[in-house]
Each structure stands twice: as C-alpha cells, then as structure tokens.
Amino acid sequence: MKKMNRRSLLKGGLAGGVIGALGLGKKAEAAGTFEGYPDRMGVLVDLTRCIGCRSCEAACNKEQKLPAPDKPFDDFSVFDEIHLGQKRRPTEKAYTIVNRYDVEGQDKPVYRKIQCNHCNEPACLSSCFVNAYTKTPEGAVMYDPKVCVGCRTCMIACPFYVPAYSYSSVLNPVVKKCIMCYDTRLKFGRRPACAEACPRETLTFGKREDLIYYARQRIKLNPGKYVNHIYGEKEVGGTSWLYLSGVPFEEVGFDTHLGNQPILNYVKEFLTIVPMVLTIWPALFAGFHLLATRKENKNKESESQK
C-alpha cells in the first residue's frame, strides 16, 4: 500500500465507471498526500556559474531534434530581444533558453536558464482532462502528444509559463516542452543534454534530495556568495529543477510570489463541493418540487375523489 500514489488512487476512483466519470473520482484527489517519488532526479542550476554561453540551448536543440533556430546559438544579441516587454521564454522551437539580467550592484550580468521545472505536483498534469501528462518516478514530467486534444489548459495552469504550443501545425499541433530528455537519457540514468553540455557545470544533475544537500553546502561554504534560498525546493510544492542565485531571485525574473502550495490545492476548494452537489441536489430539489406542488396535487386528489 505504501506504493499507492495519487495516480493509482485516481485510477481506483475511475473504476467507479460512470460515477467516476461524472466527477466523483475527484474525491480520491483529496485523499492522502503524496510525498513524491523518493528517488526522483533533478538538476541544480547555480546562476553564479552561468556565463550565458548558450551551449545548453544548442544541446537541447540537437538532442530533441528541434528545428533550426532563428539565430545561431553563439549570437548573443538574443539577450537583448524584448517582445511585448518580455524577455525570451521557452517556445515550440526551444525547450530551454537563457536570459541575461543586468542587476544593479553587480559588475557582471547574471544569466538565468529557463526550462520546465518538473514540479513534484505539476499543475499541467492536474489540469489535463485527457491525462496527457505523467510524472515519472525519475522525476520528469512527460507529455503524451497522442491523446492531447489541444485545449491548452496546461499552459494556463503552469505557474512558470513553460509549455509552448505548435500553433503553426494544422494537423498535429501539440504542446512542446522540456521532458528532461527522459526518452533518450534520464530513463537510462544519464544527465539531460543541457547539463552535459554546460561547460561550467552550472547544471548539476543528481537525486533531488542530494541536490538540496549540495545547495545547502554551497550556501554554507561560500558565505556571501549566495542568497540563502533554494528556489524550487518548496515553490508550488517543490520542483525537480532547483536554483541557486547570488542575487535576489526576483531581480532575475523569478516569480517569488508563487507560494509553497501545489497549484492543485487552489482548485481543491471547488473539487470538494462536486460530490456534495451530486448527492445533495437531487434530494433537495425533488423535495422542493414536492413542497411546491403539494397544493396542486391535493387539488387534483380532491377533484378525483369527487
């Protein structure tokens, strides 16, 4: 029973067939808290090490067989790209990107890599109505393009603005996002391509719990070098990708107001009323009906008695 997790709980709820389909299956969601797969892997991103060489972007492009980029990967003018007031973000053609931040009081710019953070309790997964997302025991959040309908709720739900969509495709538009190289590497215990390509080991691959230990050690052993916070340790329920920074996280584009609750918790308030409405409403309104039409029925009865 210890191995029972939310997923299997849900499947159990589904066994209820129609009841599950009508929404009662949601009850299972509220039951039990899932601590996450114990051996899940992750990557620790140490922003103090990143020099913005974009090797990770090139490696990702090659590994995931993505289309050619608009500009070469050694073209650093991309750091100045501002679109609608925003710096670059992951797209259907690039699952990871690096942005540059000029932080006040820092003589060197700070670079930040963005990709799917592979949440412990992914919002994309919990918002998907065709179950296209899976959190693997290795930690990757996988996406199954074969069942995706294209409602794009996952893009609404992702607090990190990660999933992109191949709008340009007519017959098979799908969500495009980092899968931590699960198919080609993670499954076999190997590092994601970006982590391997990184020259400065900005990206340290390891068991998530080890990474948290390393991060703590780095903060402790290098006083003054880091902000005393591991971004992703607790944010939205924790993520497999973790960040260390030498400058306050909000100054390099991190959303520091996400809170530590998994996104699913915000939805639970509604999910808990579902079984109540399903069970109480019929009786309640049938009762109303009987009360409201009592007079009418009485009249009918007395009429028929006459």
């Binding site: 020099i51 050619a68 400065r200």
Partner: protein
C-alpha cells in the same frame, strides 16, 4: 565506444603522468618553477579543438604560487575552498597535483561512477567534473586579469561545433526567421 576508450586511456595515463610531475614538483619545492611546459587538454574535445595550455606562462602569471590554481593540494596553507588538510594531511590524496587526479572527466559515466564509489567519496560528491573545474576556475580568473574568456578565446570551434551552434557556414538563413510568436 571509441570515445570511451579514449577517455579510459586518458584516465590511466593522466594520473601516472600527474604523479610524475607531482613528484617532480615536490622534489624541487624551493625552485617551484616546474611542471610541464604545455598540457594538451582534449579529454572531451568534440565541438572545440584541444587547448594547448601554456603551463609555463601560467606559472609566471601566478607568480610561482602553484596554490593559486592547484587549490587543495600544493601550497601551505592550502588555499581555495578547501580545508583539505583537516582530514587529508597525511593521506596520499594530498599528493595529487594534476586537475585530472581529482576532477573526473566524466563523473556521470559508468566508469566515473565506479571510481567515485571506489574512492568512497562522502563529502566531495558536489565536486565539479574536469570540464566544470576548468571552466569555473579559468574563466573566473581570466575575467579578472582580462585573459581570453570567450569560448573561441581558448579553443577554436571545430566544424562539428559550428554545426552544433548553427554558426558559421551552418548559420540559419535570414529567410528562415519568418514567423513571430509571443
């Protein structure tokens, strides 16, 4: 397979060489100016040419203070992040001088994992790989002393590297830039 063989060979050869140079260094402790004149760094050269590292000039740059680079090991007291001597004062590991002696070229490979296991590393799991160590150490210093700190500054890119970066002859044509997303 070839690549792994190459790495394996290096792994065997390099510590031997390192040991030789280390002995050399200690033997002439007073004179210090020792070690190999150039070291070819090519353990994972794929997208870049190997680096012809001019060790001799770097000794000059470092004003004969080996510990500036060879942190943890040479120099008294040992500098850098290490409090190595607290535990390792009387151990053979402090005699290791070459970067490769401690920083594995691929700690994530099966071989690397095996070596780490054999060494029984407990406190140094977070140690960077050889590539990581070079780039962290060299670039930080180069940025300060105005040495080359771009990729091509130390190692020219190979054709394979150009392809990898979609650069040079592999650069995307301007016409491919159509279509904006936000």
């Amino acid at each position: 397979m070839l690549k792994i063989k190459k790495i394996l060979m290096l792994m065997v050869l390099v510590p031997i060489a390192a040991f030789f140079f280390a002995g050399n260094c200690f033997a002439q402790e007073e004179e210090i100016a020792a070690g190999p004149a150039t070291i070819i760094l090519d353990s994972i050269a794929e997208y870049y040419e190997p680096v012809n590292f001019d060790h001799a000039s770097h000794i000059e740059f470092a004003e004969n203070d080996c510990a500036k680079c060879h942190h943890h090991t040479i120099g008294t007291p040992s500098t850098g992040t290490g409090n190595c001597n607290l535990c390792h004062k009387y151990e053979a590991s402090t005699k290791i001088v070459a970067c490769r002696g401690c920083h594995l070229s691929d700690p994530y490979s099966e071989e690397g994992k095996k070596i780490r296991k054999e060494r029984g590393e407990v406190y140094h799991k977070d140690k960077p790989s050889l590539k990581g160590a070079y780039h962290q150490f060299c670039i930080s210093c180069h940025e300060e002393v105005d040495g080359p700190y771009t990729c091509d500054g130390c190692h020219p890119r190979t054709e394979k590297g150009d392809k990898f970066f979609y650069s040079g002859q592999y650069a995307p044509k301007p016409s491919d830039n159509a279509g904006g997303h936000h």
